[in-house]
Symmetry: C2
Subunit: 290 residues, 2 copies
C-alpha cells in the first residue's frame, strides 16, 4: 500500500490520520459521529469524509484504493459489526479494531503495560508481549464501575438516602438536592429519562466537593479508584509495566491510586489516532516492530 | 353512607371489599390492573368492576352513590394523580391514598409501629399516634435498595465482575452465567431491555444458593437486610412498636434482621384490602377509633 490510514471513530466524532508507508503522519481530518452500533451507514460516511479531509490536509489526491486502514471504533467488538463495516469501506484494505485497542497502542507504543479508559464508562486493557487482555466495558446498567455515569448515578442515590435520613447529609448532598429545587421527586424524574452521559455530567460537582473535603465526595471517588485498582490488579500487571489512565476521569483517579500502581503511571506516548496510524503502518506499510 | 368500600389496586390486579357501615366485610371482588400512573381511565374501569363484583358477592344491588370508598393505589401519591382519579369515580365519596398506607393500616390495625414492603421495590412507613412517616420507594434506578429488582441487578453485576476476575467466582456466579449460555454478552443484552420485575425474577436463585452457603448469595442478602435495618432505624422505631415485613422478600429478610428489630416482628393483623376497608369504615361508616 502506498498510503496508510488510522481512524479513531466514536459517538461524538471521527478522526483520520494519513501517513506514508513509513508511518509518518502527513495530514489529519475530522468529521461527525461514527457510531457503528446505531448507524452503520452513517458511520461509514463519516469515516470516508474524515479520510478525505486527511488526504486534502496532506495536499494529496485521495487514493482510497491505495490505502490500508486500521479503524478503532467504539462498539466494533460487538457481534459482527466490524466485519460488516469492513466490507463497505472503500479502502484497499481495512482492519476494524476496538477503540480500546488503538488507545492501548497509542498510549504504550511498543511497551508492555496497561491502560484504563475511564470516561463515561470504563474499560481496562493490558498487553504483555503478544497477549492482550481486556476486561470491563460492559456498559452503564451492569458494569462501568470506574466511569462517570455510574459515579453520577451513585451520587443521586446517596442524595436520596441522605434525604430519607438513612445516610448523613453532607454539603454535597445538599448541593445536589438544591439543583433539583430540593424536591427529591424531580431528581427521580430526571433519572428516569437520563442517559449515561447525563449522569456523567454530574461528575464535576463530585470533584469540586472532594477538593473541599466533603466526606461523601471523597468516599465516592475512593470507590471508583478502588474499582480501577481491582480491575488493573486482575489484569496481572508487572512492576516493569507502563500504566496510563485515559479518559475524562483519568487524571483525577490516577492521583488516588495507591502504590504499587501509582509508581507505574506514565503519560501516554500518543493518542488513540496515533495508535491507529502506527498499527496501520506496521500492517500495511513499511514500518516494522509489533 | 350506607356502604363502605375498600379498594387495593396495583399494576397486576385490583381488589375491592364491601362492608356495612360497621366495617364488617360482606363481599369481595377482583378485576384487572389498576395502574393510575400509566392508564388512569383503565384504572378507573378496573376499580368500578371490582366494586361491582364485591356488591354482587354480598348479594346486594350495586349502590355506588351510597358508598364511601378508601382506595389504596400504587403511584397515587405522585403529582395530582389521586385528585384527578377521585373526581372520576362514581362513589358517593372517595378518598385516594397510597398503597403503602392501606398496607400499614391493615398490618398494624390500631397499633403504633412500622412496615417494610419489600417486593420488587422497597418502601418503609411508620406510624406513631397521628404521625405517619414514609421513606424509600424511589424506584429501581436510584432507590428500592431493599427490593428484589435491585438484588437481581446486583447479582448480574457481581457475575460480570467474577467473570472478569475482579471478584471471586462462586457457585452462584457460575449458575447465573450458565443461564446465559456462559456468554457475558448475553447477560448484558438481557439487562439492556429488562424491566425491574425481570431483574426481580432472579431473586429465588439467590435464596437457593444462600441456603447452600454460597458466600456471594449470603453477602447480597445481608446487604439487603442491612439496608432494611438502616431504613427502619431512620424511622425512629420504639421498643414497643410492632414491625411487619411485607412483600415477596419480607419473610426471608425478616429472618436476617438483628436485635432489637427482630424482637419487634409481628405477623400482619390484616392485609392491605382489610386496611382499606377499616379506613373507609372509620371515615364514612359507623366505626370509630383511628
Amino acid at each position: 500500500m502506498k498510503w496508510v490510514l488510522g481512524i479513531d471513530g466514536g459517538g461524538t466524532n471521527c478522526r483520520a490520520g494519513l501517513a506514508a508507508a513509513t508511518g509518518e503522519i502527513l495530514g489529519r481530518g475530522q468529521s461527525g459521529a461514527a457510531n457503528v452500533m446505531t448507524d452503520l451507514d452513517g458511520a461509514c460516511a463519516s469515516i470516508v469524509e474524515a479520510a478525505h479531509a486527511a488526504f486534502e490536509a496532506a495536499g494529496q489526491v485521495p487514493a482510497f484504493d491505495q490505502a490500508g486502514a486500521v479503524l478503532g471504533l467504539a462498539g466494533a467488538n460487538v457481534a459482527d459489526v466490524g466485519r460488516r463495516l469492513a466490507t463497505q469501506l472503500p479502502f484497499g484494505e481495512s482492519r476494524v479494531e476496538s477503540d480500546a485497542l488503538i488507545a492501548l497502542e497509542g498510549a504504550l507504543g511498543g511497551h508492555d503495560g496497561a491502560i484504563a479508559i475511564i470516561g463515561t464508562g470504563s474499560v481496562f486493557m493490558a498487553r504483555h508481549g503478544e497477549t492482550i487482555r481486556s476486561i470491563g466495558g460492559w456498559g452503564f446498567q451492569l458494569g462501568d464501575l470506574g466511569g462517570g455515569a455510574r459515579l453520577g448515578r451513585q451520587l443521586l442515590e446517596e442524595t436520596l438516602l441522605a434525604h430519607d435520613g438513612i445516610r448523613p447529609q453532607t454539603a454535597l448532598t445538599a448541593a445536589v438536592l438544591a439543583r433539583f429545587e430540593t424536591d427529591p421527586r424531580r431528581l427521580v424524574t430526571f433519572a428516569a429519562s437520563a442517559r449515561p452521559r447525563d449522569f456523567g455530567a454530574l461528575v464535576p460537582i463530585v470533584f469540586e466537593f472532594a477538593d473541599q473535603g466533603d466526606p461523601l465526595a471523597k468516599s465516592l471517588l475512593d470507590e471508583v479508584a478502588s474499582h480501577v485498582e481491582a480491575a488493573l490488579t486482575a489484569l496481572g500487571l508487572r512492576q516493569t509495566d507502563r500504566l496510563c489512565l485515559l479518559g475524562g476521569l483519568g487524571e483525577r483517579i490516577a492521583a488516588r491510586l495507591g502504590a504499587p500502581l501509582s509508581a507505574m503511571l506514565q503519560p501516554p506516548i500518543a493518542d488513540a489516532l496515533g495508535g491507529a496510524v502506527a498499527m496501520a503502518a506496521r500492517r500495511f506499510g513499511a514500518a516494522t516492530g509489533r
